[in-house]
């Protein structure tokens, strides 16, 4: 039953993985930049970063997806569906990444920052060499959880026409009408990917953890 449809299902799984990996890289990068803005001494940047996080943490992802897919074209911006979904996932998950990284920043002892300033480090150097590396090393596991949430959120792409794993499984079920085994199998695939992310996060954390 699932084997008959293996080819389209594998292609859909590929789409899920592409969306996951690209959005993960993008949201980590953007999230870190937002955190840097959030802790910077420039009030405008701090306010903008605060507003950004509040906006995306408080609006449901589905609403954002529908807006991006159906409202942006009316404003003259038509992007391919998969691209649109990736962009929305990046900006949405970046807010959660930013919150996770900010908790890491708070774990960096203020004395270190003061010491760095006393040694003549510029603001950029303080951020790049002292704060961000240490912050990231303390929040590996929380970031892993954000990435697992991102994986689950990729399934929402099915509602706006992207043929990823959930959408493909839906199609198979429409023909076979065997929802329990079909969706259970898809659930196992998601679980396997989530476990892999969790295990990788655990490994990385062990390597980079700072013992204080």
């Amino acid at each position: 039953m699932l084997l008959d449809n293996l080819d389209p299902l594998l292609r859909a799984l590929g789409t899920t993985l592409v969306v996951l990996l690209v959005s993960a890289a993008g949201s980590l990068l953007l999230g870190i930049l937002v955190t840097v803005a959030r802790v910077s001494p420039v009030p405008v940047l701090r306010a903008a970063a605060f507003g950004y996080v509040q906006l995306f943490v408080n609006v449901p992802l589905l609403a954002l997806l529908l807006l991006a897919v159906f409202a942006l074209p009316d404003a003259g911006l038509v992007m391919p569906l998969t691209t649109t979904v990736i962009v929305v996932l990046v900006v949405y998950e970046a807010a959660y990444v930013a919150e996770a990284v900010r908790s890491g920043v708070n774990s960096v002892p203020p004395g270190q920052v003061e010491a760095a300033r006393a040694l003549g480090f510029t603001l950029t150097q303080v951020l790049r060499l002292v704060i961000v590396p240490q912050a990231l090393r303390t929040v590996v596991q929380p970031l892993g959880n954000v990435m697992i949430a991102l994986l689950m959120n990729t399934a929402l792409a099915a509602t706006v026409g992207v043929v990823e794993l959930t959408s493909a499984v839906n199609k198979v079920n429409l023909v076979e009408a065997q929802p329990i085994p079909i969706f259970a199998a898809a659930g196992l695939v998601y679980m396997a990917i989530a476990l892999a992310i969790g295990l990788a996060a655990g490994r990385i954390e062990k390597k980079v953890a700072i013992s204080r």
Binding site: V69, F70, L81, T159, V160, G161, V163, N170, L174, V175
Partner: protein, 306 residues
């Protein structure tokens, strides 16, 4: 004779369908029905008294002076109530119901009871309504509980495109095209069966799919004909091309085991199909948003369960 009518009527329909006649009304088809269908009502066939013997369902309806119909009030082009004038209900289903009322009573006197899909069999069984006109697909399972006259219309999946699209004229032209479908609708599987090279994009709801079509995310949108007709009626940017390419036979629901009434309704249906009233009702309702000629009505009794 029917062929001659079917070939002749679209010429006139094409002439009046494109002017303001159908474009200015808030309720699709309302204006044209008011003016266009009065003549159909006037000329509609009326049953002989001998066809309605005492004690029959037909006689009971005639004594009551009103045909009780289970029909929707919110289905554009099929059965829609005018919000500013609740007595005014227009559409293909409800206009046929009025013709049946004229056949029995000599006047289009109907009482509409809005059914839910789950309650149609019950409404017939307990005698709340005489007939169901409700895009009621004939199935053998349903036919064990109630009787079906007809089929009186065959719907099915049809193709909608943007109004200015002239490349796509039917499902045959969808090869290699991007086709929008509703998720979890029969179109998801029917489109690849008909056109393996078409790329199918599915959206969760009908409004989303229509929006996607008008924004150019696909070349065509495949959905049930009647649903597309309603979409096309409210959205001037899309149009239906061709006739349905799958079959969904709609029947007139009647109380089970009332063979005389079923025979009577089928006789009426044959009469309005033969004299062209059926085609004229189609032209004034569903036909206002289709760019093709009126379909030939399905053969009565041609479907298992009818």
């Amino acid at each position: 004779m029917l062929l001659a009518l079917a070939a002749g009527v679209p010429l006139t329909a094409a002439g009046c369908g494109s002017d303001s006649d159908s474009g200015t009304s808030a309720v699709p088809g309302a204006t044209s029905s008011d003016s266009g269908l009065q003549a159909v009502y006037d000329a509609a066939p009326r049953a002989e008294d001998s066809a309605m013997p005492a004690g029959s369902t037909m006689a009971a309806i005639k004594d009551r002076g009103k045909l009780r119909v289970a029909a929707a009030l919110d289905a554009p082009l099929l059965s829609q109530q005018d919000p500013t004038n609740p007595d005014n209900i227009e559409g293909f289903d409800i206009d046929l119901a009025k013709l049946l009322a004229i056949y029995i009573l000599g006047k289009p006197e109907i009482e509409v009871i809005p059914p839910a899909s789950e309650t149609r069999e019950a409404l017939l069984a307990n005698g709340t309504v005489d007939v169901v006109f409700n895009t009621y697909t004939i199935t053998e399972e349903r036919a064990q509980q109630i009787s079906f006259a007809g089929p009186y219309f065959t719907s099915g999946l049809a193709v909608a495109v943007e109004a200015d699209n002239t490349d796509i004229k039917s499902v045959e032209d969808l090869a290699g095209k991007t086709v929008i479908v509703g998720a979890n609708t029969p179109a998801v599987t029917a489109v690849p069966e008909r056109q393996p090279t078409a790329e199918v994009v599915s959206f969760a709801t009908d409004p989303q799919a229509v929006q996607a079509l008008t924004q150019g995310r696909g070349d065509a949108y495949v959905q049930d004909y009647t649903l597309l007709a309603a979409d096309a009626a409210s959205n001037r940017d899309i149009k239906i091309v061709g006739q349905p390419f799958t079959e969904e036979p709609y029947g007139i629901g009647l109380k089970h085991d009332d063979a005389d009434f079923k025979q009577f309704v089928n006789t009426w249906l044959k009469a309005i199909e033969d004299d062209g009233s059926w085609t004229q009702v189609w032209e004034a309702t569903l036909g206002t948003v289709s760019d093709s000629a009126a379909p030939t009505p399905p053969a009565i009794g041609s479907v298992p369960g009818s």
